[in-house]
C-alpha cells in the first residue's frame, strides 16, 4: 500500500467520524454553551483534521484567529501561528519560567506549546503575558472560556497527541505541573501533618524572621487546642490557606488581593491596597494582619528596598528577573510587584508563601521552599510539606501518598487508587481535612490529623508564645498607641 493510499484511508476514516450523527452530537453540546455553535463546530471538525495531520497547525491557527477573537475577545488557543508551529523547539528549562502563563486550562496550553509558553518569541500567549499585570485577570478568564469551549470542541484530544510526541524532559516542579493529569495549572499549597507537629513554634519564628512582620502579626500561627471530646492536646498550624476560591480576593475593591497566575499564590499588591480591610472581614480563617501603624522594621532595611516598583515594571521580563536575583530582592516578585515581606503602614498583610523565593530571587536552592517548612524540617518534625498541589510528584503529594500507603499497611480495606482531590479517597480515612471547607473557599492546605470541631478552644501549648519571645495578643500591643478609649 502506498503512502498516498494510507492517507486516503485515514482521511476516509476521519470523514466517517465527522458524519451527521457526530455533528448532531457536537451541535447539541455546543448549543448548551454561551459560544457560537457554528464556529465551534467548524473548529471541532478542523481540529480533528489537524490531529489527523490533514492540515498544519499554522493553517488551523490562521483560519480562525479573527473568529476566535470576535467570540472570546482574545485568541488564546494553544495552537501557534506559522512562526511558532514547532512545539517544544525552543524549550527553555529555567525553573522560574515554567508554569507562567497558566490559566485554568494549562493542560491544553502546556502540552501543545511545550511548557515555556511565557518565554516564547511573539506568539499571542507571549504577547499577552508581557502586557501589564493588570491583564492577568482577563487572560485567566479567557483561558476559562477557552477551556469551556475547548472541552466541548474535543480539543482535549490534543493532549494525547502531544503526549505521543514526548513531553518535556526535566521533571522540575513546573514541568510536572504541566504534565499533571489534574487538569489545573500550578497551585502551590501545603500538606500539613498535624500528627507530626509538636507545637515547637519554630515555623512561627522563622516566618517572622523571614518577613520582618511587626509584633503580633503572626502570619504563620500555631494553635494548641482542646476539643470537647478529646483529652489529648491537638495542634492546628495556620498559614494562609491560599484558597482557589478566595473570599478575600473576591471582595477586594481594588484587585490588590489577587491570585498569581503562574502558581496560584494569593498575594496582596502593597502598591495599590487602600487598607479598607474587607479582605480581613471576608476571610474565615483570620489570617490577615493589617499594618495599623509604622512597621517595626523600616523599609530601608528590607532587601530590595532600593529597587523602584515602577522602574522594575519597565524592564523586560528577563532583565527584571536578573536584576531581582542580583540584588537578592526580597520584597518584589518576578512581575516587579511589591508583595513580599511585611506591608507598609495602612496596608494589609498576610502569609505569602514566599513569592520572591519561588521566583528564584533568594537563589535557585530556595525555589519551591518556604521559611516555615524549612524551619519545621530543621526542627526534625517535617510536618509542613510545601509544593505544587497539582503535581503528583511534588513533595506534598508524595507525602500524601506515603501516608496513604502507611495507613494501608494497617488497613487492607482501603482503596489504593488515591487521588487527593477526590472526597472518596483514602486520605479522608487518614482523617485528612481542609479547614472550613464547607464555606466553599477551596483552600489549598490539606491537613492530616484531627480536625478541630466547632467548639474547639485554643489553650497554651507546650511552648508558649511568651517563651519564645513572640507577641501573641497583638491587641495589647496596638492599644499602646490608641488615643483614649480602648481600656474604658
Amino acid at each position: 500500500m502506498s503512502t498516498e493510499d494510507m492517507t486516503d484511508t485515514v482521511d476516509e476514516a476521519l470523514e466517517d467520524r465527522l458524519d451527521e450523527s457526530w455533528e448532531a452530537e457536537m451541535r447539541a453540546l455546543l448549543d448548551e454553551t454561551d459560544y457560537d455553535t457554528e464556529l465551534g463546530l467548524e473548529m471541532a471538525k478542523d481540529a480533528q483534521r489537524l490531529i489527523a495531520g490533514q492540515i498544519s497547525e499554522a493553517t488551523f491557527h490562521e483560519k480562525y484567529t479573527g473568529a476566535v477573537v470576535e467570540e472570546f475577545g482574545v485568541d488564546d488557543r494553544p495552537t501557534a501561528p506559522a512562526a511558532r508551529s514547532d512545539p517544544g523547539a525552543d524549550a527553555d528549562d529555567d525553573g522560574d519560567s515554567v508554569g507562567d502563563g497558566h490559566g485554568d486550562q494549562p493542560g491544553i496550553l502546556e502540552t501543545m506549546l511545550g511548557r515555556d509558553v511565557a518565554d516564547g518569541d511573539g506568539g499571542m500567549v507571549t504577547s499577552l503575558s508581557e502586557i501589564d499585570p493588570d491583564t492577568d485577570q482577563t487572560r485567566r478568564e479567557t483561558m476559562k472560556k477557552m477551556g469551556a469551549a475547548g472541552a466541548v470542541l474535543g480539543l482535549g484530544a490534543w493532549g494525547t497527541s502531544e503526549a505521543l510526541q514526548g513531553g518535556p524532559e526535566e521533571p522540575s516542579v513546573g514541568t510536572a505541573a504541566a504534565q499533571a493529569d489534574d487538569g489545573d495549572g500550578m497551585q502551590y499549597g501545603m500538606v500539613i501533618d498535624l500528627e507530626r507537629c509538636d507545637g515547637c513554634l519554630q515555623c512561627v519564628t522563622a516566618c517572622i524572621d523571614e518577613n520582618q512582620t511587626s509584633a503580633g502579626a503572626n502570619w504563620m500561627y500555631v494553635l494548641a487546642y482542646e476539643d470537647e471530646h478529646t483529652e489529648s492536646q491537638n495542634f492546628l498550624v495556620r498559614p494562609c490557606q491560599h484558597c482557589t476560591n478566595a473570599p478575600c480576593e473576591k471582595v477586594c475593591p481594588v484587585e490588590a488581593r489577587h491570585t498569581r497566575d503562574r502558581d496560584g499564590l494569593v498575594l496582596t499588591n502593597y502598591e495599590i491596597c487602600i487598607g479598607c480591610r474587607y479582605c480581613q472581614v471576608a476571610c474565615p480563617y483570620g489570617v490577615n494582619y493589617f499594618q495599623w501603624g509604622e512597621p517595626d522594621t523600616p523599609y530601608d532595611e528590607l532587601p530590595g528596598s532600593e529597587n523602584d516598583h515602577d522602574a522594575l515594571k519597565e524592564l523586560s521580563d528577563d532583565e527584571r528577573h536578573d536584576h531581582l536575583v542580583e540584588t537578592g530582592d526580597h520584597i518584589h516578585d518576578d512581575r516587579g510587584q511589591w508583595n513580599d515581606m511585611r506591608p507598609p503602614q495602612g496596608v494589609m498583610g498576610k502569609c505569602t508563601m514566599c513569592p520572591s523565593r519561588q521566583d528564584g530571587h533568594q537563589g535557585d536552592e530556595k525555589v519551591g521552599t518556604v521559611a516555615c517548612a524549612d524551619a519545621c524540617d530543621l526542627a526534625g518534625m517535617s510536618s509542613i510539606h510545601f509544593g505544587d498541589m497539582n503535581d503528583p510528584e511534588s513533595r506534598p503529594r508524595q507525602y500524601l501518598r506515603q501516608r496513604v500507603e502507611r495507613d494501608l499497611d494497617d488497613d487492607t480495606d482501603l482503596d489504593t487508587d488515591a487521588d487527593w482531590s477526590e472526597s472518596t479517597t483514602p486520605w479522608r480515612k487518614l482523617s485528612a481535612f481542609r479547614l472550613l471547607e464547607e464555606l466553599g473557599t477551596e483552600p489549598n492546605v490539606v491537613y492530616l490529623g484531627n480536625e478541630p470541631g466547632p467548639n474547639a478552644e485554643q489553650v497554651d501549648g507546650p511552648v508558649t508564645y511568651d517563651a519564645i519571645g513572640v507577641q501573641d495578643d497583638r491587641k495589647d500591643h496596638l492599644d499602646e498607641l490608641t488615643v483614649g478609649g480602648g481600656g474604658l
Binding site: P253, I272, P284, G487
Partner: protein, 457 residues
Amino acid sequence: MSTDTSTGAGGPDATTPTRDDIVRPLQHTQKPFFIVGAAASLVALLWVIAWSWQLHNGLIVTDLADWGSAGGVTWGLYIGAFIWWVGIAHGGIILSAAVRLFGMKKYQPVARIAELLTLGALSMAGLYIVVHTGRPDRIVTSVVMAYPNTVHSSPLVWDVTVITLYMVMTATYLGLTLRYDVKRLRTDLPEILDPLYDVMTLGYSETEDRIIERMVWWLALGIIIMAPLLLHGGVIPWLFALMPSMPGWQGGVQGPQFLTIALTSAVAGIIIISSVLRRGYDWYHILTDDVIRGLTLWLGLFALLFIWLQLQQIITGVYAPEVAAGRATAAKITAPVYWFAIGLVVIALAYIFAQAVKPQVFTVRRSIVASVLMLAGTLVEKIFFVVEGLMYPHMYMYYGTPGTYFPSIIEMMSIAGTIALCTLFFMGVIKVVPVIELHAIEELRGEEHGSSEVEER
C-alpha cells in the same frame, strides 16, 4: 396613618403662607445662626485635628485591631457610622416619593429639606469611607483603575457605585426643581449670588415647567426604586449579609433589617431638622404640627418594623441554630449595649403609641426627643452590629475571640465632627436656596402652579 389623608394647613397657628416666608432665611441672619455656626465649626475643627492625627500615625490611634489571634475587631465605629449616615440619607427620597409619586401633598413643605438632607448625609457617609481606610490617598486611583473588574465581584465597589449614582440623581433632581423656584424668587434672593443663580437657571423658559415636572417624576421613580431596594435594602446590607465568615451578619434578613433602620433614622432626622427650621424662621404655619405628627407616626411604623426584624433574627439564632450562629446570637442578647440600643427605640415607640391613642400626649418637643432617641438607638445598634459580628467569627477557636473593642476618643469625635459638618452644610444651603419649595406655598395657598406666578420680570 389616618392623619395622612387630611389636607395640609392646620394647627393652631395657621396663617396663609407667602413667598416672603420662604425667602426669609436668605434675607435675614440672626444671632442664633452665628452661635450655632461657630459651635459647629469648632466641633468640626476639633475633629479634623483628631483625624489628621490619625492620618499622621495610622489607624493604630483607633481601638481597632485584627480579629483572630490578635484579639480585636477590624471594623468598628467608622463603618457603623457610615451605615447610619447612608440610612439618614434616605429621608430625602421617602419624602419626595411620598409627595411626588404617592400624592401625599401634606409633606411637600419638608420635601426639599429632606432632599438636602440626602446630599448632606451621603457626603458624610462618603467621608467615612475615606476616614476608615488605611491609605485614603490611594482611594481614587486604586478604585478607578480596577473598577471594570471589581464591579463584578466586590460589594464595596457596588456600594461606591450605587452611592455615587444616588448622589448624582438626587443632585440632578434638586437642580431641576430649583430652577422653577429660583427663577420666580430671583428678585428676593441675595444679589451677591447672582452668578450662581444665572448658572442654575441657564436657558430657563416657562415652557420647560411641564417637561421638568415629568422628568422629575421619572427621576423620583428611579431613585425610589434604587434607594431602598438597591442601596439600603441592597448593597449596604450585602457588605455583611454575604459573608459566611461572620455568622452574626450572614443571612437574607439583613436587607429588610437595614432598610427599616434607614427609614427610621431618616424620618427622625427630618423631624429634627424641620422642627428646628420652623422655630428659627417662624414657619409654624408651613411646617405645621400636623406635618410633624404625621412624620412621628411614620417614625413609629418604621421603628416597629425594625424591632420586628430584630425579633426574627433572635428567634432563628436561639431556637436551633448552627453552632457559630448560635454563639453570635447568644452574645448579642446578653450584651447590655444591644439592649441599650433596643431600649432607646422602645421608649421612643412607647411615646408614639401613646400619642396615637391620646392625641393630647403629642407635642413637637416630645417628637424631637423621640427622634433623637431613635437616631441614637440606630447608631448604637449599627456599630454594635458591625463589632459583634466580627467578635464572633465562624472560626472561634482563637484565644483572641471574642475580640475586644471600645471606640477611641478619635473615633467618637468623628460622630460629633460629621454631625457638625452636616449642620454646617445645612446652614450654608439655607443661605443660598429656598429650602421650602415654592410649589408647597402655592399648594398651601390653593393656587395653581406654573406660569400664573411668573410676574414682575
